[in-house]
């Protein structure tokens, strides 16, 4: 039953993202038009509180549920991969109006055409895996 807690976190995540409207294409469009604070408020408050939480975990050396040390590995240093990859991701995000989390959540809301986006995203990841050694990182 060790997977049950992950199932519940996923359910909670799905509900929050629908109820916050963060899964809405329109909200993403509005965000990139700088016409509402809504999405900035969601991401901003999540990060602010998240930074406090992570700081607390590190400072108090909080153990995980299994009693192990909590590791938050730093990301590798680079500019090219994050910038180029980020731009490509952003182009797709604003067109589909959905990033990898919302894709699944929206499928659950009954939008079955999202399966095409998920399949194409899986193909995109596969293409990256094939081309990885040829790309600047």
């Amino acid at each position: 039953m060790k997977f049950l807690k992950f199932l519940f976190v996923g359910i909670f995540f799905g509900i929050v993202l629908v109820k916050s409207e963060a899964v809405s294409w329109y909200r993403i469009f509005e965000m990139f038009k700088f016409q509402s604070f809504h999405m900035y408020g969601i991401i901003g408050s999540a990060v602010l509180l998240g930074a406090l939480g992570v700081w607390f975990i590190k400072k108090r050396k909080v153990k995980s549920i299994e009693g192990r040390d909590i590791q938050l590995p730093p990301k590798n240093r680079s500019v090219a991969r994050y910038l180029f990859g980020g731009i490509i991701f952003g182009l797709g995000w604003a067109l589909a109006g959905a990033c990898p989390g919302p894709m699944y959540i929206l499928l659950g809301t009954g939008v079955f055409s999202m399966l095409i986006v998920i399949a194409a995203a899986t193909l995109g990841t596969f293409a990256y895996g094939l081309l990885r050694h040829k790309l600047p990182h």
Binding site: V9, S24, F32, C99, T125
Partner: protein
């Protein structure tokens, strides 16, 4: 009950997303939804074609379970926890979208001009979804994360690479929204 059925304000939703991230850290994992796309590739046998997909995908079953939960969560939210309130968009956003040919803006989560089967089964509509999905899947793995991994977890952990990635997300998103969407629609 009304305040649950209505859309949730940002100052409730943001902290709840933090809760998701911190719970996963407490469970000894990290919040990152796009990793599942790589896992799906591995399950599908992509390891035969690239070493990138040769890893123990079974160690990622917890994350696939989160995905399953997210699908169920989306279902519950729409069918049991919503009162069909239209999205309270900026009137200027609605005007801008009307000029691009979008109708009934904000009545549903997604525009039928992109996601209805009538649109999807046209050549242009199908191309839009495939190109959009491909860019997301390629870009997120190249950048090493998506909104959950970089924007939420990475920034919370004060990672400079995540800030660069998020700046990239915004450059791409702004170019698509301001320059490309008016050409497409």
């Amino acid at each position: 009950m009304d305040c649950i059925l209505q859309p949730w304000p940002w100052y409730v939703s943001g902290p709840l997303i933090t809760t998701v991230m911190l719970l996963l850290i407490y469970f000894g994992k990290t919040f990152g939804m796009s990793s599942n796309l790589r896992t799906l590739c591995s399950i599908g046998g992509a390891g035969k074609y690239a070493d990138f997909f040769r890893f123990d995908w079974k160690a990622q079953r917890w994350n696939l379970t989160v995905v399953l939960g997210a699908i169920i969560g989306g279902f519950i939210a729409v069918f049991f926890l919503s009162d069909q309130t239209p999205i309270d968009l900026n009137p200027q956003t609605v005007t801008d979208l009307s000029e691009l040919g979008f109708k009934q803006v904000g009545q549903t989560l997604l525009p039928p001009e992109i996601y209805s089967w009538d649109t999807v089964l046209s050549v242009k509509g199908m191309a839009i979804l495939i190109i959009a999905g491909f860019l997301v899947g390629f870009g997120t793995r190249y950048a090493g994360g998506c909104t959950s991994g970089h924007a939420i977890t990475g920034l919370s952990n004060l990672q400079l690479p995540s800030l660069i990635a998020v700046i990239g997300f915004f450059i791409g998103g702004l170019v698509m929204t301001h320059f490309l969407l008016p050409l497409i629609f």
